[in-house]
């Protein structure tokens, strides 16, 4: 499996001074933040638990180094009812999946740790965890408070035996996975300096009802819900960077047009629907502009408009096909596909249409560029015989790596996760299309949605915090 340089590897793993600095025991209780505008589901409380940040470096970042983490079973206090226990179990499962999927850790779970004769004395047990080459341990205790479950999780550095991160979460039983995602993101942030992505989502299209519609799912493929019900062809979802609405293409009015769905209300509204063809929307990072493909008398060109579809400006003029624009993260450039040189290749230009530069030269068909969050690379589909692979090109070096070499099927529509550490794409094999996520550090690939054909993933931005 091809691996590309880990973003983690570039980050020094030295543990930095942390907020969690309180050396004394006790629980800091902070009132619930107001989420009055979004009443459902019920909000949770999270608190920092006392810890100690005076910890020596854990890992010297380099290559594929992973943090070696012991994660024994969560202790459930006696007196916890069955439904609360089930919620805590779901929390633990999701947290283990999140941490495992992050690629940041090499985790020893209860089965790995079963060889140890634990004593119940923390100092002794920490030495035992350490004897299995673990560098940190995640210790969590959970209990019930009326109709909610509470989890207190603490991370310890095993060399110093000091607490380096402590959190308490409380939530209704239905929020167990969400609480796990939240805690996982905090742990990832602590160790890598970048937020985890367990609270992000992926928009995609699926034909599971017999018509292509737009859907949303959590980053791990859970919690799938429909966004459209046009009973037509709806495709090409594109997140607004504000995370509260998604643009998409639909044929329900006849000609393909660009619409927007508000995620809070489900309300739809047209963005650009006049003319013969409007497709492939993409928002600028500030959310103020939208780039898309528009047909001028049968020839498709790239246009940029304000986010509501006003102030249309044509930014390409070529006899070839121009399509699939993607704003750079800093909003100054557009990557797009053009057949102006005979075959589809990826080009980059300023948003005004100036300073055109071709960036793919290999093969005869490259399409569907998505920028890495740091703007240094693009990922796209590249043709290999009758199938496509996912490739990454470094824009400074114009150096290309294929990520899906040897993976059966045809792979397209790549989209970067907001932390830049994963790529979601769709794979068509045996006449079935599924969405997959590759963790770039490890090359590990996971298949997400499975019902019907699922394609065209677009990864959400980070949710607001």
């Amino acid at each position: 499996m091809t691996r590309i340089p880990s973003s983690i590897a570039r980050f020094s793993f030295a543990v930095r001074p942390s907020v969690v600095r309180l050396a004394l025991a006790g629980i800091l209780f902070i009132p619930t933040l107001a989420w009055s505008q979004v009443p459902q589901p019920q909000a949770d409380v999270a608190e920092d638990l006392p810890g100690n940040s005076d910890v020596t470096a854990v890992i010297d970042g380099g290559g594929m180094a992973q943090l070696r983490l012991a994660f024994p079973s969560i202790t459930v206090r006696t007196g916890t009812a069955a439904d609360a226990t089930a919620a805590i179990g779901a929390f633990e499962t999701a947290l283990r999946e999140d941490l495992e999927a992050s690629g940041v850790f090499e985790i020893q779970g209860p089965e790995d740790l079963a060889v140890l004769a634990l004593t119940g004395v923390q100092a002794t047990d920490f030495e035992l965890y350490r004897s299995l080459t673990n560098q940190s341990v995640l210790v969590a205790e959970a209990y019930q408070e009326e109709d909610k479950f509470v989890v207190e999780g603490r991370l310890y550095d095993l060399a110093s035996q000091q607490s380096i991160l402590g959190k308490r979460y409380r939530g209704t039983f239905d929020l167990s996975r969400r609480v796990a995602h939240t805690f996982s993101d905090e742990i990832i942030l602590y160790f890598t300096g970048a937020r985890g992505i367990a609270l992000t989502s992926i928009a995609f299209n699926s034909d599971r009802t017999g018509h292509k519609e737009i859907y949303l799912m959590d980053y791990d493929g859970e919690n799938i819900r429909p966004l459209t019900g046009h009973n037509s062809i709806s495709m090409s979802p594109a997140w607004a960077p504000t995370g509260d609405n998604i643009a998409y293409v639909s044929f329900f009015a006849g000609a393909p047009g660009i619409y927007r769905v508000d995620l809070a209300t489900g309300a739809k509204q047209p963005i650009v629907t006049d003319g013969n063809l409007n497709s492939s929307p993409d928002f600028s990072a500030d959310g103020r502009k939208i780039a898309f493909t528009r047909s001028i008398d049968g020839n498709t060109e790239i246009f940029v408009a304000d986010r509501d579809g006003s102030n249309l400006r044509q930014v390409t003029r070529s006899a070839g096909i121009d399509t699939n624009p993607a704003f750079s993260p800093n909003g100054t450039k557009l990557a797009f596909t053009s057949s102006r040189a005979g075959n589809p290749h990826i080009y980059i230009m300023d948003v005004e249409g100036t300073n055109l530069q071709r960036v793919t030269f290999e093969g005869t068909y490259n399409d569907g560029a998505d920028w890495s969050p740091d703007g240094t690379r693009i990922v796209y589909a590249t043709r290999r015989g009758n199938a496509f692979d996912i490739a990454v090109t470094d824009l400074a070096l114009l150096d290309t790596k294929v990520l899906t070499t040897g993976m059966p099927g045809s792979h397209e529509s790549p989209t970067w996760s907001p932390d830049g550490r994963r790529i979601a794409f769709s794979t068509t094999a045996n006449s079935k299309s599924q969405i997959r996520v590759m963790t770039l550090d490890t090359g590990e690939v996971k298949t997400l949605a499975s019902e019907g054909n699922n394609m065209s993933p677009d990864w959400s931005p980070y949710p607001p915090r």
Partner: protein, 188 residues
């Protein structure tokens, strides 16, 4: 009760701790507080758009019969394209000449030309490619004398394959321009 007492105690402890540990966070490593932000889990599908009826109108039986009868006479047949190409082959031009003759003989009809692609290539690119295929057919019909305002085009890209399968035989059938009598001219 116990908890309230504990809160008071811990607040005190916190205060002491905060004073004792003067250095405050320098980085964003561990935020002070988090709340799980809820997102709506259910989004109601919208009512079925009424515009759907327009699409049905294209299918209306009478016009479909006109198309079928033309097909039976060897007219309004599909034209086919090479992979990733929208140029018209000699065969396609021959077909289009027949289709043009039908349109000249039946001035009361409006023709919709659908551009289709095989499943290879990306969905977005294929929408653009289908648009080019449909408009290449339209432009040729116009060059043969058919009035442009009696011709409509729509690209379905790879979204509506004629043949389902991943073989060259299927792909070649799916790279096509498809012709359907879609309405009557208002003046015809």
């Amino acid at each position: 009760m116990i908890r309230n007492g504990m809160i008071a105690l811990t607040s005190l402890v916190l205060l002491t701790g905060a004073v004792a540990c003067k250095p405050k966070p320098k980085t964003a490593a561990a935020p002070v507080i988090q709340s799980v932000e809820p997102t709506p889990t259910e989004i109601a599908p919208p009512p079925t758009p009424t515009i759907e009826e327009d699409e049905q109108a294209w299918m209306n039986e009478e016009l479909a019969r006109v198309t079928a009868e033309a097909n039976a006479r060897g007219l309004l047949g599909d034209i086919f394209f090479d992979f990733d190409r929208f140029e018209l082959s000699a065969d396609a031009r021959e077909r289009l000449a027949k289709n043009a003759r039908f349109m000249m003989d039946a001035p009361q009809f409006v023709l919709t030309i659908e551009g289709h692609c095989d499943e290879r290539g990306t969905n977005d690119y294929n929408l653009a490619l289908g648009e080019r295929r449909a408009s290449a057919a339209r432009d040729y019909l116009v060059s043969l004398g058919v009035s442009a305002n009696r011709l409509r085009t729509i690209s379905y890209g790879e979204e509506r394959p004629f043949c389902n399968g991943s073989t060259e035989s299927c792909w070649s059938q799916n790279r096509r321009g498809h012709f359907m009598v879609s309405s009557r001219t208002t003046d015809g």
